[in-house]
């Protein structure tokens, strides 16, 4: 018998700290698998955000820099410019990327920085205890939208992929989900493609991964996957928003 599914080399063996059933763990693994398959682990440099993934440097088996809240794309820019042949990626949550770090992500994308951004969207601030995120759904209750997000005063969930796709420079932008095995496979393909683009020097790549937060959503992990499918996907349609190959076709 041959092993068809095992532990990726680019993931350290230490167990992660995420709550049971949190899909951060799946996304970590997909990133590690992509790095393994492209054989770039020794060249990889991760940039960890502020957010639940602040300890990402403890999990990825590669060099890493921990960035201030929202600044990961700027830090990644600095690293990549200093070491253009290395594979540099950020791993950011929705508060980090789409709120405090909106300027950084837009401009890194607009410069076409040859980096890969893994954007984990779970519609809530997990780290600080479940406050409203820029991606919180209309009507969704959080600790800072106790009556449900009111679009009249707090606006609508920011659709990062759609927004960044209005820029000319990005090479690859896709939104995927990890709520079931089929979608996990698709997510893996997108993440791998993004890294592949970087390896080939194609420019800025971003994969938004819809993710769960069972603890702050107040659901069992399995309920949370269902909630993601039923509520988040309609608000954040899955798909590839930008791909250079499609452009050249």
């Amino acid at each position: 018998m041959k092993q068809v599914f095992g532990y990726p080399e680019s993931l350290q063996t230490r167990p992660n700290h995420y709550c049971p059933g949190c899909t951060h763990g799946i996304i970590h693994r997909l990133v590690a698998e992509a790095i393994d398959e492209l054989q770039v682990r020794e060249k990889a440099i991760a940039v960890a955000p502020v957010g639940c993934a602040v300890l990402a440097y403890n999990y990825f088996n590669c060099d890493a820099q921990q960035a201030a809240h929202g600044r990961a794309p700027a830090v990644a820019t600095g690293i990549k410019r200093a070491l253009p042949d290395r594979i540099v990626f950020t791993y950011q949550g929705d508060g980090d990327l789409a709120s405090i770090g909106m300027a950084e992500i837009v401009h890194a994308a607009n410069r076409g920085e040859n980096i890969t951004v893994i954007f984990v969207n779970n519609a809530i601030y997990g780290m600080t205890g479940g406050q409203m995120a820029p991606t919180t759904l209309p009507g969704q209750k959080t600790t800072t939208s106790p009556y449900g997000r009111d679009t009249a005063t707090t606006g609508y969930p920011i659709q990062v992929c759609e927004m960044l796709s209005t820029l000319k420079a990005p090479a690859f932008i896709a939104r995927v989900s990890v709520h079931d095995p089929k979608n996990v496979l698709k997510a893996k393909e997108a993440i791998k493609k993004a890294f592949e683009y970087q390896v080939n020097g194609k420019g800025f790549t971003l994969v938004e991964v819809l993710s769960t937060c069972p603890t702050n959503w107040g659901m069992t992990p399995v309920e949370a996957l269902k909630w993601l499918e039923n509520n988040m996907i309609p608000a954040f349609p899955l798909g590839t928003f930008r791909s250079l190959e499609e452009v050249s076709k």
């Binding site: 602040v54 300890l55 702050n216 107040g218």
Partner: protein, 226 residues
């Protein structure tokens, strides 16, 4: 009061954590194996995990954040919470649920356990704290807690006090609200929590029908009351 699972909730600063710890000690003294779960994912200060060592000394198993992350502002829940819920070795499991309806939401992820095993869900009410200063406020809070947790509140623990300004008169005044609340919502008052240092002063005025629960305040540094 013979439920295996006891959930302690209430508004910020209502005395949840003090009561949770005291209740855990109380049950441990009865000879039960007690597990105490710190589910306070909201407020990193005054949390029972800080007292974990002392509790452990009394044979109480405390589970909160993963070891090493106690001081991280990451609300990473330990899988060992499942252990306390699942393992019949623990005859009493006490949940200390952090701040308000928001904190109560984290209970949702354990919902199937409560649904099958049963539970008692008590809230601490101090009529001198914002959020529970009148029947209407307190009623709203209870409704929100129930919605967020998807659970029913089964008991009220009175914690009538104004800190070091507490007097028997103040206590009795607070009791009026507490009783009205209990009558209106048809939720029984299960305990009257009293800080040990005020017990001698207050006991004479506390009606006999109430079970008095004396608590040595652990969370509050002594210098705060100097």
């Amino acid at each position: 009061m013979e439920q295996r699972i006891t959930i302690i909730g209430g508004a910020y600063g209502s005395g949840k954590t003090e009561f949770s710890m005291a209740y855990a000690f109380h049950e441990a003294k009865k000879g039960y194996q007690v597990g105490l779960i710190d589910l306070d994912i909201v407020n990193p200060y005054f949390r029972s995990r800080d007292q974990a060592e002392e509790l452990a000394g009394h044979g109480i198993t405390v589970v909160s954040t993963e070891p090493g992350l106690e001081n991280a502002d990451i609300p990473a829940l330990s899988p060992r919470i499942y252990g306390l819920l699942q393992d019949p070795f623990y005859q009493r499991v006490v949940f200390d649920v952090g701040g308000d309806p928001v904190g109560a939401r984290a209970l949702g992820r354990f919902n199937p356990y409560f649904a099958t095993a049963g539970y008692q869900y008590w809230i601490l009410v101090n009529p001198y704290r914002p959020g529970t200063r009148n029947v209407q406020e307190a009623t709203e809070l209870i409704a929100k807690l129930q919605t967020a947790s998807r659970l029913r509140i089964t008991g009220i623990v009175g914690n009538i006090n104004l800190g070091r300004e507490t007097t028997p008169e103040i206590w009795l005044e607070g009791l009026v609200l507490l009783e009205t609340l209990s009558d209106t919502l048809k939720i029984p008052i299960v305990y009257q929590m009293v800080a040990s240092k005020y017990a001698a002063m207050l006991r004479p005025v506390i009606p006999e029908k109430y079970a008095v629960f004396e608590v040595d305040l652990r969370m509050r540094p002594a210098w705060l009351d100097m």
